[in-house]
Amino acid sequence: MKRPDIASGLVLAGLGVFVTQQAARLTYRDEFGPGPGLLPFWLGLLLIALASCLAVFSLRRKEKSGEVDRIPSTEFGQPHRISRVLLAWLSLVVTVAALNVLGFIVSLGLLSFFLVYVVERRPLRNAITVAVAIALSFLLLFRAILPVPLPVSPWGF
């Protein structure tokens, strides 16, 4: 996994530069001792150093046999798989955006439908069943039985 490591090293090094720059604007030391800028400044520098090492080592390193990679092996970069993930993630974001308009229960029901029907491409009947079942279950458990506060719409549900 060389190219992604190089890219992630560069991105993290860039983040380190940003953090260090922001930390430099904070008080490094005041009359009482270390200030709020001390730790983030040094963490930023450490981030730059280690991220640069990652990028450089990845450029030089050969694949070692027996190097353990704990994440499931996936073909990184397959467009149709990544697009499914982004679609699913966007649906989560839209759900959060819709909370103040539709309330939690309705938003969750719509999200369930979308995930099952559009993302997972299950039959329409399955999607409707899952959406309704989950929305009703949450309504019963978290609104009726357990008085857990949930975001509600302007219409009170």
Partner: protein
Amino acid sequence: MGWENLLLGMSVAFTPINLLWCFVGVLLGTVVGILPGLGSPATVAMLLPLTASMNPTAALIMMTGIFYGAKYGGSTTSILLNLPGEPSSVVTCIDGYQMARQGRAGAALGIAAIASFVAGTLGVVGLMLVAPPLSRFALQFGPPEYFGLMVIGLTLVVFLAQGSLLKGLLSCILGLLLSIVGADAFTAESRFTFGQVELVDGIDIIVASVGIFAIGEILMNIEQGISTTLLHVPRGIRNLLPSYQDLKDSRFAFLNGSVVGFLAGTIPGGGATIASFLAYGIEKAVSRRSEKFGTGVVEGVAAPEAANNSETGGALVPLLTLGIPSSNTTAILLAGLTVWGLRPGPLLIQENPGLFWGLVASMYIGNVMLLILNLPLVPLFAQIMRLPMYVMYPLIVGISMIGVYSVANSVFDLWMLMGFGLLGYTMRKLGFPAAPLILGMVLGRRLELALRQSLMMSQGSNAIFFTRWLSAFMIATAVLLLLVPVVRRAITRSAVFK
């Protein structure tokens, strides 16, 4: 400690009303522990006003039941859904969920329940035997000692980083940076809030851990196209409980977790989360199969679960002997002691022996109740895994959102949840381990606080960390822990060359 005190406690705890309240407390605690975000501090705080008119012993028994009951429940969603129910159950996700993926969800749940029972009971024994002397020792902890403790915690990253140590360190640094977002504790200067008022109080660990572990896992499964049942659930109750070999493999993990958890609990600011990381790290360091940690080893569940349950007994030591709370929940319990007309402090036990010993006895009983409650429920919980993944996805998202929202009733936290979800997915894709990031978030603020307080005390001199024996001992221990993988590798290489 005389046996007559324990008999007094038993006579108090075994009354029908106290048994009932003990049961209510542990049951409520289990439910609360399962739900992420709705932790024991919030539940105890919500119920406190309702207990004002209760008998103080019954009220304390119930509230403490919630405290340790939540520890039992927190592991359930960690194992089944990779969704930590409590911050102290984050570490259980690492091996617990992998065990579930291998069809051993029942064994993982069972070992978590047994570890919780063993360690919870040992924690009560510790509370009973060592409360006064240990609490006096904990008073010696000043900022340099806390700094030493945090440094020990940070060295655990070398054990939590699977595969690439460099990536583990980078994750940890990210976690440390995330922990300092918000207003500075000393000067109230805002750091990395970018004008967002909601970030002034910082980023809650629950938001980050649920996002990274639960939402990130869902996105990963969606990419892999897993829509049917992911987790194989064996049939038959025998297959759903830990085997004799599992128990044998876990015996040292029970002990390790019990001791670490209890000691961490006695230290104000120690906490079950740090204890669970410490116990996991130590277990991995000394295990003969340390390379298998993270792939679903039973000790990886037993050690952190033991630690987070034993911590309960430890946390009650400073509370009941000195009137000093060591965690959020015990702080609320301290308020409860006042509400119930008691005077927290060194004389509490002498003035109210029935209260203290009744509580101790009820904790023995409560642990038995929890074991009886949780073990038979293992097959039921395991059946949840028969649901197809396309049903689990919205279910997990819904529970995650509720849990996170309930932290501060803030929709902003839900935005952050989705952000952390994407981060968790990206980290998994790129091979960056998540546990060190969470560790960094847990330790960051406390490390900085301890560091700056220490340097203020010493007027800028770093020698303070080495002139105080306890701090120096802890830093030396941290250095030794860092050397363990190096020594182990050297021994392995010399064995190979021979």
